[in-house]
């Protein structure tokens, strides 16, 4: 599983990365978590509000910092 955190480096982006890593560890997934900070690349995903969460090249969340439970839910839906 390849996870990308889209965000120019704001506080919310750091929060999103933290909850995502929590969720990945909690699920025991083997996933890579990559930060994307380039505006052109962020916009190419079609999101207009940061931070964004991309799983295997598909945008699953944009514009908010979810709870770790919500990320866990999203990620486990994609593993099964």
């Amino acid at each position: 599983m390849h996870i990308k955190i889209l965000g120019p480096g704001c506080a919310n982006c750091a929060n999103l990365e933290r909850v995502t890593r929590e969720a990945v560890d909690g699920l025991g997934l083997s996933a890579t978590v990559e930060k994307v900070t380039d505006y052109g690349e962020i916009a190419a995903y079609g999101i207009m509000r940061t931070p964004g969460l991309v799983v295997d090249d598909e945008v699953v969340l944009a514009g908010l910092v979810p709870t770790a439970a919500r990320v866990t839910e999203l990620l486990s839906a994609r593993t099964s």
Partner: protein
């Protein structure tokens, strides 16, 4: 490895209605007892002379803090719940294919109702322009969004009533429409960083407003109140504190001499002070409230507030990622001119 589904028992709709009703009642009760409570506590219980400078300032600070907090809580909650039916993605879809003119009017209106944080100005700018929304129409949206925002409307309504609030909204929309239209006419596309036009949008955009339940919307409202109050409380305290000090110590004659409608430079000075100042409506309106009571004319005050919320140094620095300095200067110049015109107009007609 399944997440626990929330268990729902009884009548969730009824319970939600009762909870919201109780919250509204509690809000109204607090708002009603705010003034009598401080009058009683400071004046009767503690024996403070409310007509003295220090007494008046302390009373103003406490009363105004509670009043503004209540107004913000109520209005941010209501606006967030209503706005959860809109999203930037929907706005972009609505603006796609619209011509300039009609597009500017629509963009300014959508700028008011779309939930949007100026921290997302850059990705939204790229997203709009890359999807084919004209530059001027995009600018109308980006100008209206911070200028006519829910915090400003909430506080204007609470502190000045419906008349000045409508004037402010109408003036803000006009500035956003005209400034965006002028930027479009000037054909400034060459001053946009080329990568914006080269950005290709792949994947299907996510519509965050899709599939939300009423519980989700209410939760978003509560979270937004918390998030905004956490962000703006320092501005609020400084604004109310300064307001209280002016309320107590700066005589009205001073303002009458320096900032009355007769002073031809009043609006210019207000806008010049407001542009570099980084605050938001919550920090500015307590000051505006006091200055108005001291006799500073409404046009000057609204111009000051508009310059502060619409044009800020941090936002222009952010926009440098996508706009060349020439376009940023044009944008700031046109919006500042619009604000100055509105200030003088209001001073002349009010």
């Amino acid at each position: 490895m399944t997440a626990d589904a929330p268990t729902r028992t009884g009548h969730p709709g009824l319970r939600r209605g009762v909870t919201l009703g109780a919250a509204a009642l509690a809000w109204w009760a607090l708002y009603s007892v705010n003034l009598p409570f401080w009058d009683w506590l400071l004046g009767d219980a503690l024996g403070v002379d409310l007509d003295s400078r220090a007494g008046g300032a302390v009373h103003f600070f406490l009363y105004d803090s509670v009043k503004i907090l209540l107004l913000l809580t109520g209005i941010i909650f209501a606006v967030t719940v209503l706005r959860s039916f809109m999203s930037v993605e929907r706005t972009r879809a609505l603006l796609g294919g619209k011509r300039e003119g009609v597009g500017n009017v629509l963009a300014a209106g959508l700028g008011v109702v779309t939930p949007f944080c100026s921290c997302s100005a850059v990705p939204a700018f790229i997203g709009f322009v890359a999807a084919g929304v004209p530059l001027g129409v995009t600018m109308s949206f980006l100008i209206a969004s911070p200028l006519v925002n829910e915090i400003a409307i909430a506080l204007l309504l609470g502190l000045f009533g419906i008349g000045p609030t409508l004037l402010y909204v109408a003036a803000g929309l006009t500035i956003a429409i005209v400034a965006g239209w002028v930027i479009g006419r000037l054909k400034l596309e060459r001053y946009v960083e080329p990568f914006v036009f080269e950005t290709t949008l792949r994947g299907k955009p996510l519509d965050p407003a899709y599939g939300l339940t009423w519980d989700d919307r209410i939760r978003m409202g509560v979270e937004e109140v918390g998030a905004i109050l956490r962000k703006i409380w320092p501005y609020l305290l400084v604004g109310i504190g300064l307001g209280a000090a002016i309320h107590g110590w700066v005589p009205a004659e001073w303002f009458a001499a320096h900032a009355s409608a007769d002073n031809p430079f009043g609006v210019l000075v207000a806008v010049g002070l407001g542009i570099p100042l980084y605050s938001n409506a919550a920090g500015i309106l307590p000051l505006v409230d006091v200055l108005f009571a001291k006799g500073v004319p409404m046009g000057t005050l609204l111009a000051f507030m508009m310059a502060t919320v619409a044009l800020s140094l941090p936002e222009t620095i952010l926009l440098k990622r996508v706009l060349k300095p020439r376009l940023i200067a044009t944008f700031v110049g046109i919006v500042a001119l619009g604000i100055i015109a509105v200030g003088y107009l209001f001073n002349a007609i009010l």
